[in-house]
Symmetry: C2
Subunit: 235 residues, 2 copies
């Protein structure tokens, strides 16, 4: 399998074609951005850590019956995935209130939600990934009503699996953002990544943040947090 031309470069990853039209290579970068690209920086070792962590977690999710785009890890910072058409939706689950929702709605950070909040954002940097609902998504043809239902069901299942998985590793899964895509044969699969870039991980005992909020909020010990998370996932 050959790595061919770059298809696109995002804020945290590059996507490359391969000689198989149904497979892409994702290259994970150390680049980090916050607040819709306003703050730019780099987190040493992040690309390698997120590549490995996503590999472990997507393999585990596949074993629990969640179809994903993941094929295999190729190198320290590259993985082979199924080529998909990404739904332009950021699919978010919040188990505890933190981050943007607190500012937007006046909730206190750390508030445990009785039941998870499911959120869609329209994945579009020009508009700052605005919160939308099913009606917006359907009207804007981001997905059909049936696709949205599939995505919602898969997301709640993923949350249940991840919550238990991380709790066993001493981590409170506060919230996460995932993306879904459609393969050439029409299957909806979990795509993109699951890492400290896309989740909020709080240590169960100390409440210490082990995720990208250390970068966003300038809390220091960023690399150590990412390393600690990889260690727990690999344990």
């Amino acid at each position: 399998m050959e790595k061919l031309e770059q298809l696109y470069e995002g804020k945290a990853k590059k996507v490359f074609k391969t000689d198989n039209p149904n497979e892409f290579i994702i290259e994970y970068k150390d680049d980090a951005t916050a607040f819709n690209g306003e703050v730019k920086g780099s987190i040493g070792g992040k690309g390698v850590i997120n590549n490995k962590m996503t590999g472990v977690i997507f393999t585990m999710l596949e074993e629990k019956g969640i179809p994903t785009h993941f094929v295999k890890v190729l190198s320290e910072n590259e993985q082979l995935v199924k080529a998909v058409t990404i739904f332009p939706l950021e699919v978010i689950i919040r188990n505890t209130a933190a981050g943007s929702i607190c500012k937007r709605l006046g909730l206190e950070e750390g508030l445990k939600l009785k039941s998870p909040i499911f959120e869609f954002c329209y994945k579009n940097d020009d508009f700052g990934d605005p919160v939308i609902n099913d009606y917006h998504a359907i009207a804007m043809k981001l997905a059909t009503a049936e696709e949205i239902e599939t995505i919602r069901e898969m997301t709640f299942k993923i949350n249940e699996i991840l919550k238990t998985y991380f709790l066993e590793k001493g981590i409170n899964l506060v919230d996460f953002k995932i993306e879904f895509g459609k393969t050439s044969d029409g299957q909806i699969v979990l795509a993109d990544e699951i890492s400290p870039d896309t989740c909020r991980f709080w240590d169960v005992k100390t409440n210490e943040k082990l995720d990208k909020d250390r970068f966003r909020r300038n809390l220091g010990h960023i690399e150590e947090a990412y390393e600690e998370m990889l260690k727990r996932v690999q344990a």
Copy 2:
């Protein structure tokens, strides 16, 4: 029936207690605000027009089976209503894209939506009435899942009635914002007002705006637009 102390004053109306604990008096003002109170002004005759128009429309909706808070018009700018506890939700239907949704999501103003977009905003001026979904509303205890379902069903029914009603008057009902409340005996009713302050009305033939966008966008002939709408509703 006696008008007693003022309960609260909003941006467009005042609410007074009466000697009947189950009834309030709403006094309609000429005050107009835009962009979450950033722009303040006044529209001559608006209070009288909105009081009358809401009276006509709520009476019509009651006749078509929609429970509302409306009891009767008391004077040029006052009406008697059932006292309700307002759900802190701005309930919005969009038949055509216009206003905030165009800026927020990059839709073209005037785009006819294949099916109506139903939207909730959290009614809270401090946070700029942010868009939310069912999960947020339930988590924040703004309404229960059952109440939301009732509100949604009533809103779609109201949209069908209003679309037909206004079309017969040569008006394209672009979008509207309504509020719901709960009476002391637990009934969910349509409350607040339906007027050029809370709807976008476009003339079917000329596309002329006959609503508060004339004020928001400084288009002139504001009073005439409100008067024209009242004339059509009373015809």
